[in-house]
């Protein structure tokens, strides 16, 4: 199924929003307005965009430590995201989660996750619920090339296959898990070949091509909705920046400048708007302006938001509370 003109423009808006969101976040980290470190999605925008635009609001995703892109693409509100990153009360998690835990259950975002691979079975669990309820909702599990060697990911893929759960496994192969090249971490190079071990269909797509990602996901989501069971998409992509904002300080050298430069030539944020203009679908500059305004507003919103009160820290762990629970430390 081809994307509509509207969708094609939407892809760009989404990718641009992710890119600029990440760039602004880095600025805020550098200025210590955001504490800690975040994992930027710069370079990989076409993956989250293509995948999430193949989903409805009722569908569910689980994300990773590198989650901002997924969350924005699934409809996350940049204001509440920035507020969370600034540790505000108005943030998605009331300041309790931060970058690695942003979640919006209302939008089907079951959370970023600080533990590599851990979100994958959780997505399968949502899919299991959908199947039991005879709903046509589907779930998507995002995970990286690094995560594919984690045991729980293997277990989850097998579970999804034997129970034919409506879930799509999206492996974002950006070539590295921090400094570890997937060439050294797997003897087979095409990660989609791993899916055969569980008996599900799989394909490898160009993760720099939002339309390719979208088309592949749309087909597999339709398959899952129709009761066809799980499937696997490997998206070949690249992060243009370090593993996390803290990487610069570490002076790591695990990729050649040439490799980075070559991938940068395929930057979707650079190439896709040219195509859009050629097709006369929109004026990308207009979109850029709108995105900029949206982010300005989000940052302003976050800055103006209150910090949580210290006592809030003991709230929210349990849905049902009891005296003395959670235990105070004093």
């Amino acid at each position: 199924m081809n994307a509509s003109d509207n969708q094609l423009v939407g892809f760009y808006r989404c990718m641009r929003l992710i890119r600029r969101f990440e760039e602004r976040v880095v600025e805020l980290v550098n200025r210590n307005e955001i504490v800690g470190t975040t994992h930027e999605y710069v370079g990989e925008e076409a993956v989250a965009t293509g995948v999430c635009h193949a989903l409805g609001v009722e569908d569910v995703i689980t994300s990773t430590h590198r989650g901002h892109g997924h969350i924005l693409a699934k409809g996350g509100d940049p204001r509440r995201m920035v507020a969370e990153l600034m540790g505000r009360k108005t943030g998605y998690n009331g300041g309790r989660g931060g970058s690695m835990h942003i979640a919006d259950l209302g939008l089907g975002i079951y959370g970023a996750n600080g533990i590599v691979g851990a979100g994958v079975p959780i997505a399968c669990g949502a899919a299991m619920a959908f199947k039991q309820r005879d709903s046509s909702r589907v779930a998507v599990a995002f995970f990286g090339d690094g995560a594919i060697n984690q045991g729980v990911v293997h277990e989850a893929m097998n579970l999804a296959c034997i129970w034919q759960l409506p879930v799509v496994f999206v492996c974002e192969n950006n070539g590295y898990g921090i400094t570890a090249s997937i060439r050294d971490m797997s003897r087979i190079q095409k990660l989609s070949d791993r899916a055969a071990a569980y008996g599900m269909p799989a394909e490898t797509v160009d993760g720099m091509d939002v339309r390719a990602v979208h088309a592949a996901t749309t087909a597999l989501v339709a398959r899952a909705r129709a009761g066809g069971g799980p499937s696997f998409i490997e998206c070949l992509t690249y992060r243009f920046v370090g593993h996390f904002t803290a990487e610069r300080a570490l002076g790591l050298k695990y990729r050649t400048e040439q490799e980075v430069a070559e991938w940068r030539l395929r930057d979707p944020i650079a190439t896709y708007p040219l195509w859009l203009r050629d097709q006369k679908l929109c004026d990308p500059a207009r979109v850029d302006e709108e995105v900029e305004a949206q982010l300005e507003e989000a940052i302003a919103y976050a800055r103006e938001s209150e910090l949580p009160a210290p006592q809030d820290a003991l709230q929210g762990m349990y849905a049902v509370t009891y005296p003395g629970l959670p235990a105070r430390g004093w």
Binding site: Y92, D104, P121, I122, L159
Partner: protein
Amino acid sequence: MREMRYLEAMREGLREEMLRDDAVFVLGEDVRNSVRGLTKGLFQEFGAKRVYDTPISEAGFTGLATGAAIAGMRPVVEYQINALVFVAFDQLVDQAQKLRYMMGGQGTIPVTYVVMASGARRGLSGQHSDHPYPLLVHMGMKTVMPATPEDAKGLMKAAIREDDPVVIFAPSALLANKGPVPDGDYLTPLGRARIAREGKDLTIVALGPLVPDALKCAETLAAEGVSAEVIDPRSLLPLDHDTLLRSVRKTGRVVIFDDSNRTCGYAAEISAVVADQAWHALRAPVRRITRSDVPVPFSIALDTCVLPSPERLLEACRASVKETRT
């Protein structure tokens, strides 16, 4: 009131909740054939969509339960042996338990985990005899361990209805025990200890499989003129501090009798609470009778130096009542 076995009562609780709420479903290894007995007949009664046999993938299916719970289901996970808690550990303590907090209180994760045949069983040796509740409690997971058939049913039902993850330990040593079980729909609430026997000279805090032994010791002590109160916390987290402290403040003496490892174990926590909150009332040192910190050995000839024994409990109680503050 009927007389029922602990395991039957637990199963009845599970079945009633499955009847009551179609969001409740069971998953675990060999639950359709019910190797452990907890789920006997449930597959036949409720069918394939309510009872799932899983592959040997504990971390994986524990994660599935989390996702299904967020999506509105109420999964009951059966762990066939206690060690499965270790295999699934990250998905339990770092995911299911933490997600709601980290999400800022969004959603609920009503999963019940039943650790079947926990604790030592004759001849099952080092990897099938643990009682890892202190680990879960340390990480903030709600945890219960019923000691009677009545509580086995009541806590099973309460756990399933609780909107948070709850771990139930079902100790091997208790599964065949018989006891009265009330008729009708009742819950044993979390966070309330049971005074298994009233007394005034000494408090014995006994856990799960050791409650029957503690009661026998209390009888022996009674014959010696010592009136022991036996507290069965049954809800390990939340712990009922009030009942515990009221008892110790009354008796001034406490011995904790626990079948988990000693160091950083559950007895350590009880001891610490008492030594802080009831210190002024104490008239003797706080004593712990626990497991020794080694895996349970295979040969039953070796048990006496490893498992907590009634003889040692009696000794500790007798010593405690003789103590005076110096």
